[in-house]
Every structure is written in C-alpha cells, then in structure tokens.
Amino acid sequence: MHKLIIIFSIFSFINVREAYASAKEAFEIYQSDNSNEKNKKIAHELIEGQFYFSAIPFINMYLEKNNKIDQELESDIETLVLKTGTMAVLNLDEKKLENFSIPSISLILGTRLFNKENYKKAFEILSKIPETHKFSAEANLINGTIKNLERSQIEAAQLYENCARKSDKLEKNSSNEKLKRYYNYIKETCIIRKARVKIEDKKYAEALEIYDLIDKRSYKWPYILLDKAWANYYLKDYNRSIGLTMTYKSPLLESYFFPEAEVLMALSYYSLCLWDDALKVVDHFYEYYQPKAESLKEILGQNKKSDTYFLDLYYAETKTREELNPFIRNLITQTRKQIKFNLDLSSLKASKEELNLLKKLKNKNEFTKKLEKNLENTIGFISKKINTYIKKEIFSFINEIHKHSYSMFNLKLELFSKKRDDIYSTRSNEEIKRARGSENNITRNSKQYFFDFNGSFWADELGDYSFGLQSKCELLKSE
C-alpha cells in the first residue's frame, strides 16, 4: 500500500513538473512572441502540459483570425475535442467553422447544425469526414438519422449498417476502457436504429430479430423493451406486448419509466377487448403520473431562473431527492446514463482539477492569472450547461406525460363507448365466461423462453415476459 502511495506521489510530481514546464513555455511565448501564430503556439504548449481547458480560448482566438490549419494544429484540435467535447470551438460561429474541413471540426459543426434542424447542411458537412477516420462512425449515425427523418429508408439503413460495422472495429482496436464503452454505445445505437427502420417499414419480425443482438447487460437494453413491445403489438401478439411493458415495473428497472409504455399496455388490453383491464391501466396513469407531474412542474417553476439548483440536486443525497419528488431521483438516475451528461460532468471535474493544478504553480504572473480567470469562467459555463440539461430533461418528461394524457383520454372515451355497447347488448362480464390466463394463449418462437410468473421479477427473465390472456374479441363477435 505504501509503495502504491509512493508511486502515485512520484507520478503526480512528474505530472506537475511537466505541467509547470509547459506553462513556463507558454508564458515565454505569451511575453515574447508577436507573430500571427502566437495563440496557436500558446495553445500547443498548454495542451502539451495537459491544460486542455486553458488552451480553448487561445485556439478559438487563433481560428477567429486564420483559416489555415496545419497538421500540428489539427492534432491539437482533435485532442481538445476528445478531452473537452464540443467546447473546443465553442466561441466560433457556424459560418466561421464552415471554412475548416478537418474531421474534428466537421463533427462538431455537423452536430450543431443537426440540433438546429438544418439537416441538409449538416449532412453535407458530416459527409466530408473520411470513411477511415475514427469520427466517421458517429458521422454515419447522424447522417443515417437525417436520411431516416427524410424517409429515405434504404440510405438510412445503409448508413446505420456502416456505423455499426465501423464502431465495432473501433471498439475492438481501442485499448482505452472509456473509449471502448463509447464505441460500444455507438454500435448498439446503430443496431437499434436498423431495427427501428424495419419497424417503420412494417417488417416487425425482422426488427425483433435485430433487437436480440443487444445484450441484456447493455445500457441500451432497457430502452429497447418499449420498441419491442410496439413490434409485438403490431404483430398482434398483445400478450407479449403487455409482458414487455410490465417489465418496467420490476425493481431493477425502477428508474426507467416511460408514460408511453403505460399507453401501450392499455392499448394492448384494449386490443384483446379486455375493457376493464384497459380502464384500470388508464385510471392508474391518471392517479399515479398526473399529481407527480404537477408537483414536478411546481419545482421546475420555482427554480427556473436558478443556475445551480438542479446541479445541486444531482449532488444531493438520494434521500433529499426522494423526499422532494420520487420522480426526481429516477430522472437523475436516467440522466446520469446519458453520454452528453457524463461528458459534461467529467469536463466539469477535469476543469476543476486543472484549476487546482494552475493554483499550485509556483511563479504566479499576469499570464497565469489570466488562465485562472478564463478557467473559472469555463467552470461556471459548464455548471450552467449541466444545470440546464437536467432542467430540460425534467421539462421533457412533463411534456411526455401531457402528450400521453391526451392519448389516454381518447382511449378512455373509446373504452366507455365499448362498455356502453356491451350494456346495450346486455352483455356483462358474468355472462361472458373467460379464462383469465393460460399457457395456451402464449405464442413464442424457438428463441423465446417460457417462465412462470410467481409474484417476483427475476433478472434473467426480464424482457421475456408474456401474458397468457385470452382475447375477448372473438366472444364478442360471435354474440
């Protein structure tokens, strides 16, 4: 243990020394160099010393005045993109960024244009990234999404296929654990997209086969349950659709809650002509989601102007979040699993560490003070960005509930109408004798298991549940 501490201390000492040397170099350039490349050189020295966030303003200042990017600068920008994400060229507008065609800038610009719904331009910019470059997998994913939105399904499927193949290769070739996980995430996203294209093309059975490629331990797995439930719903396997949406009720998937899953469950019961069961789901939706969404809205309204409230909530103890609103805890857990959030969070941590390193430098001067001030601003900006992100996630969730309340309302009216028809035809539940569930009503293929549900969820069974309810529709028709 002592040895480990000594090795760690030596390692951090070397790091500080290297950082100090680079900061000294940067200071000398800052003082003596008056050339056009001054900011570029300072940024390079800072990147060498691992002061990535401190280098951002200098890179931005250089690119603001120059359109030429040499090999060294290209490599520096790529390092910055990997270490700081989209912040590398944060201060440059789209018009300026269009002048550069290096892959790292093309990826940032393409993503920015996509988020602004300028799909045509985004596709054009992202297509500039060479097929052999490590960013091309991500570029294929975004371009595939653009084609998907345009309903060019064949092109979209091809781009998703390229993305899955490239990210698989990158994952296998990468030695960094974090990068491996990132490429795996991209690969699985692209596989899921291929399945979604199949669903959109009404090839449901083929889609279900693709979904089976996703491992149950994957980050993406809980999200595909809803997709699979829709595919089964359209295949008229309503029992499996109910089983899949029911999986979200298991304690292991407690933090994953999708109002849409509730609507789909009710729709599946409706399609089995089980009006009462469907009504129970609808009523539960209104009783459970609505009051909690209202109180969430209140929390959002009270703190909408705060730049730190939601970030503080993230750092708060689980109990505090639970007491405030049970959804907050689940929403934070779900948010934590998003890549953007994790990148921003690690950027915040890294920039704070960088500030500490700067403060440890011995010879303080005008240059180091400037770096510290810039870094403090950057930390403030990232904090605000994360705070806004959590706020946006909560807002999207409330919107989802409202959207699906409308679907549930329509379904409820439809259910009342069906029940009224039953009353007019003097039918009642007692008259229609039906079995509540049987193994005979389950359809399954060779890859699907059969488990009995004995009142508790088992991790290995999750995602394979199917109800065995008998449809009432045939009985109603025959009367």
Binding site: G85, T86, I108, T111, F114, N115, E138, L141, I142, T145, N148, L149, T189, R193, R196, I199, E200, D227, W230, E260, V263, L264, L267, Y270, Q338, I339, K340, F341, L343, S396, H404, S407, N410, L411, L413, E414, S417
Partner: protein
C-alpha cells in the same frame, strides 16, 4: 264641383265612424270544447309499399378517436443525437 267633393269627404267620414262603433260592440268567442275523432280520419293517397307504416333504422354514428400509433421513431432518434454531445 266643390260641393261634390265636400259631400264625398263627409260621406267617407260617416262610414268610417259607423264601422268603428260596430267593432266596439263585437264579442269574439272561441270554441270551448272540440272532439276530433282520430279513428274516422282517413289519409288519401296511394300505397307504394306493402305492409304497415315503417321507419328505417338509422345506424348508430361511430366516432373514431385517434388512438396512439407508432409510425416512426423520429422523437427518440433526435433526442439520442442531442444526448450524444
């Protein structure tokens, strides 16, 4: 000529005042009781369809409410990209 005109005017006024006096004395009386024998009523016309009087059964109006459909994954796909970087 003037004499004829004067006599016409006088004759007109005397007729009008006589009518007004008649209307003052008039008493309006409404029927207090009337029996309508529906059984003896007849409808004249041609029978164009056999059988009794029939009413066509009107089919019940079916309201089709739009239930949730999943035709695409645009919302999820866009959000995934937004959450990437």
């Amino acid at each position: 000529m003037k004499l004829i005109l004067c006599s016409f005017i006088m004759a007109f006024f005397s007729i009008v005042s006589a009518e007004a006096e008649d209307a003052k004395d008039m008493v309006y009386k409404y029927k207090e009781y009337e029996v309508i024998d529906l059984g003896s009523m007849e409808i004249k016309g041609q029978i164009i369809a056999p059988g009794d009087l029939t009413v066509n059964e009107r089919s019940r109006k079916i309201f089709e409410r739009s239930l949730l459909e999943k035709s695409n994954f645009d919302y999820e796909n866009k959000r995934e990209i937004e959450n990437l970087r």
